[in-house]
């Protein structure tokens, strides 16, 4: 039986005390244990950012790559070995600035990857600049006062819905158990899953704090998970009421199901045998 201890690594997180990433660390490990998945069958692929340090702290296969690029790497892993549980993980800067194009297309392809984004509305690691989810008017080193940020924030959920994601959810670092359940559902889902996690950066974001979210966050209940329009509308809710939970979930063939080469099973398990006849076409 898989226990939490199996996912224990000797390197411990060095996030600021209170950082929202800790909850996600707990929830991811919890979900994997809950599902009884063994560490050697798990790959956690991340980008660069505070959040992206995640694979350094979990005893599984970890891939800490480039800023903005966890999804292509994760896609490659899933294409190569469909037996693995592939979790892509990163920050909002990582996923919604540098990596947005990959998100759009990976979602569209319905590749069986679980993408968890620690959404703290800032570039944490590079000292708090406004990220693509920073609210209009957010003041930071690159968006000086009084105007602050002049961009409408990216809405990761409507983006994923429009791209064609088959599983779209929002979690909150203040609700670990709930977050864990979202991750469990995402892993059980066959296809691409986005979980955007509201995650306070206690150092750089003095607006989207635990207090802020506590007053606003509420859990979705009984929403029709297959209702695209409904999901889109819910996803547009903001301000005083911020829904968390699963917004949308439908079954569609994954890319591995559709592709004639991939659907024959993991590439990783296939040998190479070239028949002499291959040369005939050149005659």
């Amino acid at each position: 039986m898989v226990t939490l201890k199996d996912y224990d690594y000797h390197v411990k997180p060095d996030w600021c005390p209170g950082c929202g990433n800790f909850s996600q660390w707990t929830a991811i490990k919890g979900a994997l244990v809950e599902l009884g998945i063994e560490p050697h069958n798990v790959v956690i692929v991340s980008g660069i950012g505070c959040s992206s340090n995640m694979p350094e702290y979990i005893r599984a296969y970890g891939f800490h790559g480039l800023h903005g690029r966890p999804l292509p790497v994760a896609s490659g892993i899933k294409f190569a070995n469909s037996d693995l549980t592939v979790i892509a993980y990163g920050g909002d800067g990582d996923g919604y600035y540098e990596g947005l194009n990959h998100l759009y297309h990976t979602a569209k392809r319905n590749i069986d990857i679980k993408y968890i984004v620690s959404d703290n509305e800032v570039f944490g690691l590079t000292t708090g600049q406004a990220s693509p989810t920073a609210p209009f008017g957010f003041v930071s080193k690159t968006t000086p006062p009084p105007e602050g940020s002049l961009e409408i924030p990216v809405n990761p959920l409507t983006l994923a819905l429009t791209a064609g994601a088959t599983f779209v959810a929002r979690g909150y670092s203040g609700e670990i158990k709930h977050l864990q359940s979202l991750i469990v559902e995402a892993i059980k889902h066959k296809g691409f899953a986005l979980i955007d996690v509201l995650s306070p950066c206690v150092t750089w974001n003095k607006i989207a704090t635990y207090e802020y979210y506590k007053e606003r966050v509420y859990k979705l209940k009984d929403n029709d998970l297959t209702d695209f329009e409904g999901a889109y509308k819910l996803a547009m809710q903001s301000g005083d009421k911020i829904p968390i939970g699963i917004f949308y979930k439908v079954e569609k063939p994954t890319y591995n199901d559709l592709d004639p080469v991939l659907k024959q099973g993991p590439l990783m398990k296939r040998g190479t045998e070239i028949k002499k006849e291959i040369l005939n076409e050149f005659y």
């Binding site: 798990v42 694979p55 999804l71 040369l279 050149f282």
Partner: protein, 574 residues
């Protein structure tokens, strides 16, 4: 007896120039003859003026060749252009031989060194069907006849290329063209019979085949000329070869996907040309840092920037060798012809796994888009996956500091080998040394560990290949696609009494400095490159301190032997 003919088919984009060229080449190889075919085209889909040049002989043909013996002109412009002694197509020769063209073309300047053969190409074709491309086959039939070749063999080639209704039409067109020439004109020339069976394969296809035999399970690339021929060939064979093909959203995705695949334990490759490769630098550095093998096929075209998308150049070498930021090991291999494109690609895949580093196969339009006859390709190949850990090895250290710098890999899914691969600097275990307390000691060891692999590779590199170098006092140094044209230039110069040999650089990086010095010292050294600045010459100077004489061509076209011969003589070929 003349045993070497150059044939050119000229027309507009969309006129079927290239497919006619390939069909004729196939006909030649089925006669057991040797062929070299090269496409001269522009960056557009219809119109313009493009041409296909085929050189055929009973001996190995090493380049597109000087001279021009037979012209098929599919329009007036082509007829005038290729018979004009002032022809200005980057070194190509004008016609001194026969010109085959439709009799409706009247408006051309007569040259007395040309034998004009106005022919009822359109009339014959339209007598068979409305297919406008049929006239090409009529013209090819005339060429086959004019070279005293076998109509049945031509028809057998047609049978391979065409299917259904268009097959019958084309056979008929071939016959009528063949007979028309036979009835109205004398044999233009005869080719000695080749004897050995040959195949005809393109440079890009050879890379694809090499990759397949080298064991790739996936090829992920965004289309870009002239790298696309490999992508297309692999895509059309993906099911029979069991190779997964994906066009992703961009080249950044391509390289990162392929890195993910190699990390997960399969062999996977990507490819592009300069502009697409520009977007891969960061990925290459990532692979180097994580010590994940990755093979990148870079087929150059004339730059900078978009440049001349359908023209050739060897201008990307220094960029490739100096890709991405920071010091790290890499290998750069430049095959010289179609055969080598096949063999070195599969070898590159072994090298990458063995040394766990990025390995480049550098080609260019001139190599990737040429076709060559080849006597045989050996499909036997021992795949060497390099050092892989045993499951549950308690002493497993992904980045173990070893004497040769090479450490064992572990693939996700393997039991008891969980670890982190990190683009941040890390220690033997893979744990990051840039957090909490940066560790300068481990940093230094890790740098040295990675760079040791380069030293190990350097020790195991094969020596440089040479051609007629033994008694030479002039050494022509070349890399990549110019191999054949430089070798033939050496032959011509030898015939003129110059003692010329060739040094061929296939492993451009790391560079075998000692071998270079051993093989060139005391000789006059001339580097020959399809670029402005002499990038190989600069590298040689960097690695050896030796300053070479230089021959450079950078107008978008490949070298012709005569150009090299003249330049060598000018540089004081004695």
């Amino acid at each position: 007896m003349k045993n070497d003919y150059v044939i050119r088919i000229g027309g507009a984009a969309g006129d079927g120039v290239q497919s006619s060229g390939i069909l004729l080449s196939k006909t030649f190889t089925r006669h057991g003859l040797h062929v070299f075919g090269y496409n001269y085209y522009q960056d557009l889909i219809r119109g313009g003026n493009s041409w296909y040049q085929i050189r055929v002989s009973d001996k190995k043909v090493k380049n597109q060749g000087d001279g021009l013996d037979i012209l098929i002109a599919l329009n007036e412009d082509s007829l005038n252009r290729h018979t004009n002694p002032e022809i200005n197509e980057g070194g190509a020769s004008y016609l001194r031989g026969i010109a085959i063209f439709d009799e409706s073309i009247k408006n051309y300047e007569k040259r007395d060194f040309v034998k004009y053969i106005p022919s009822p190409l359109n009339a014959i074709a339209s007598g068979i069907s409305k297919n406008p491309l049929l006239k090409n086959t009529v013209a090819l039939g005339m060429v086959v006849s004019g070279l005293n070749l076998d109509l049945d063999i031509f028809i057998s080639a047609i049978k391979t290329v065409f299917k259904g209704k268009s097959l019958d039409e084309n056979i008929e067109a071939a016959k009528q063209g063949f007979n028309y020439y036979k009835e109205h004109y004398e044999i233009f020339g005869s080719l000695p019979n080749g004897n050995k069976k040959k195949i005809l394969i393109g440079g890009g296809e050879a890379v694809g085949l090499g990759a397949a035999v080298g064991g790739i399970k996936a090829y992920v690339a965004y289309p870009m000329t002239p790298a696309s021929s490999t992508l297309h060939w692999l895509a059309s064979h993906s099911k029979d070869l069991g190779i997964f093909i994906k066009v992703p959203e961009d080249e950044i995705s391509a390289i990162n996907t392929v890195i993910g695949m190699n990390y997960a334990g399969i062999r996977a490759m990507t490819g592009s040309s300069g502009g697409g490769y520009d977007l891969m630098h960061e990925g290459v550095g990532l692979a180097a840092m994580l010590e994940i093998p990755v093979v990148i096929y870079e087929s150059q075209r004339a730059g900078p920037s978009t440049g001349l998308p359908t023209k050739t150049e060897q201008g990307d070498l220094l960029m490739i060798i100096n890709s991405s930021h920071g010091d790290y090991p890499r290998a750069v291999i430049a095959p010289g012809d179609v055969e080598e494109a096949y063999y070195y690609t599969r070898e590159a895949l072994n090298l990458a796994d063995k040394y766990q580093m990025p390995v480049f196969i550098v080609s260019d339009l001139y190599l990737s888009e040429r076709i060559e006859s080849v006597e045989d390709l050996n499909l036997e190949f021992k795949i060497d996956r390099g050092l892989i850990a045993n499951e549950n090895d308690e002493n497993f250290l992904r980045y173990k500091y070893t004497d040769d710098g090479i450490s064992p890999r572990a693939f996700p899914g393997m039991k008891g080998l969980m670890h982190n691969e990190d683009s941040d600097e890390h220690d033997e275990r893979g744990d990051v040394v840039s957090d909490a307390i940066t560790d300068p000691v481990k940093r230094k060891l890790s740098v040295e560990k990675r760079m040791k692999k380069l030293e190990t590779l350097k020790k195991n590199l094969p020596l440089f290949k040479t051609y007629r170098l033994d008694d030479a006092n002039i050494v022509l140094v070349q890399w990549g696609s110019t191999k054949g044209v430089v070798e033939e230039s050496a032959d011509i110069l030898r015939n003129k009494g110059y003692k010329v040999g060739v040094l061929e650089i296939k492993y451009v990086f790391p560079f075998n400095t000692d071998d270079f010095i051993a093989k060139t010292s005391g000789k006059k050294i001339i580097t020959i490159e399809n670029n402005y600045s002499g990038q190989l010459a600069n590298l040689i100077k960097m690695f050896t301190g030796v300053e070479t004489l230089k021959i450079n061509k950078y107008n978008g076209e490949a070298f012709y032997p005569s150009e090299i011969v003249n330049e060598v003589i000018k540089l004081g070929g004695d």
